[in-house]
Point group: C2
Chain length 276, copies 2
């Protein structure tokens, strides 16, 4: 593990590390924000999963989350969105292949060798963080768009592992929208039953833990009706009695301007759960 | 004037406009953040000048200033750093030509036709803002690196025009450092007497107004000793009895992580002066 960026930020450090991932059979980067409190104490960790086309840089340069992480004493870890490197399969278009790992473990060729972002985010990355940084065992997870999908799915599939979950503009029902159908068809194959394991709207019916879902969604988001459709998850939650807070934010779009405007509330939400 | 971006941000709007500038004989863009208070009141304006390689996007995507502008009810206007377009002269390297206007009015060829960023920022841009947005006549100015130089020079040369001035990591003595010598030699010619009109350290001795200078400078900034040298301005201020607050911030570098960490204090500083 090599530190490749180290920048003072709000009294702490915004670092970027590169490491060889056994899970992904790939060299990848992740960002970690260490607030000033990390000098003297073990802190809880918020994992942030980014959206299509992103790498570990987008969130740390655009969301402005460091201020709130410093205020609440929370470490934020932001991985890349896919394996990387010349030997890693890719595809035309921004919504499959590099930058579009969709937080699944691919079973189909040519993807299965490297595209194991679910396993990486749930197991290898936290183990690495917990072995190398001053962290407690309190974890939260959040993300944006494809990463909001990842956060919801990972929290729903791993009861007890996260104290809280939230999402911005998530793809809540990938099995029912074009982005998800393309990616899941490629990574998981044609059997739609296999897709349910990575579909928040399908998973919520059988969730073993009733972790409340906090979702912010801009109401002028260009992807709202075609790709995101949060009302599908809301209906599934209502049917299952699963707690959800879906907030439609008037005038906001799909961009980091939206995330920046509400990330403070999300960090505060996670900090409350992480310190409870 | 055409609005080319319109994004909800902290209850207000982060907009980008494109217009034909008579001063620059060029089509250029500027960003304007309108906080929620702009719906109902005329607000003061903080002008932000960006550094080398930047355009109107860097500050609005990375500094996180919108939160503080919304908190204090201040409009922030961030222009591009040079004229743009295929007919505009350019040079090899990031520190001359496009993205490197240095906030001077060039007198030398091939620059003089378009490179008039001083005139643009002091006259045409504020006139455009004041004709088209809900602004009062209270103005402040700030910037980063080359833009910190621009803010200091413009405030010093225009007594009464700005209520407050601040800078992050400014080039305080362009006549004495490589970036400035290259740019001023090209834009203004070999006569170093002409350079004094755009050199904060030279201007402070004869400043007609004792507007306090607030400067934040990271002490691990890679450009500190070679290009920035804030102690030159501090010494000139002490000799002239001009008020200056120079804060060396330990561990901080030249990046937007540094700006983001302290922009809240700068916006608050300007808001106090703008509302006094």
């Amino acid at each position: 593990m090599e530190r490749v960026e180290h920048r003072a930020s709000f009294g702490g450090w915004q670092d970027v590390y590169e490491h060889r991932s056994a899970t992904l059979d790939s060299t990848v980067r992740f960002a970690v924000y260490l607030p000033p409190q990390a000098e003297h104490a073990k802190l809880p960790v918020l994992y942030w999963l980014s959206g299509l086309t992103c790498n570990e840089q987008n969130f740390i340069t655009k969301a402005g989350a460091q201020r709130y992480a410093a205020e609440h004493g929370v470490i934020i870890v932001a991985p890349d969105t896919s394996p990387r490197g010349d030997d890693v399969a890719d595809a035309e278009g921004y919504d499959l292949g590099k930058g579009a790992g969709f937080y699944v473990d691919a079973t189909q060729q040519p993807w299965a060798a490297h595209y194991r972002m679910y396993d990486y985010v749930v197991h290898e990355l936290p183990a690495l963080i917990e072995a190398n940084f001053p962290v407690s065992d309190a974890r939260a997870i959040s993300g944006h768009s494809m990463g909001g999908h990842g956060a919801l799915v990972i929290a729903l599939k791993n009861p007890g592992r996260y104290r809280s979950v939230s999402a911005f503009s998530p793809i809540v029902a990938p099995s029912q929208v074009p982005w998800g159908e393309k990616a899941f068809g490629a990574y998981l194959g044609d059997d739609r039953n296999a897709w349910k394991a990575y579909d928040a709207t399908a998973l919520v019916a059988d969730a073993a833990e009733r972790l409340p879902l906090l979702i912010d969604q801009g109401d002028t988001d260009e992807f709202l009706d075609g790709q995101l459709r949060p009302q599908l998850l809301q209906a599934a939650c209502e049917a299952a009695g699963h707690p959800i807070t879906l907030r439609l934010q008037p005038g906001y779009d799909h961009s980091y301007y939206f995330i920046a405007s509400f990330i403070g509330e999300h960090v505060a939400h996670h900090a409350r759960a992480l310190k409870a």
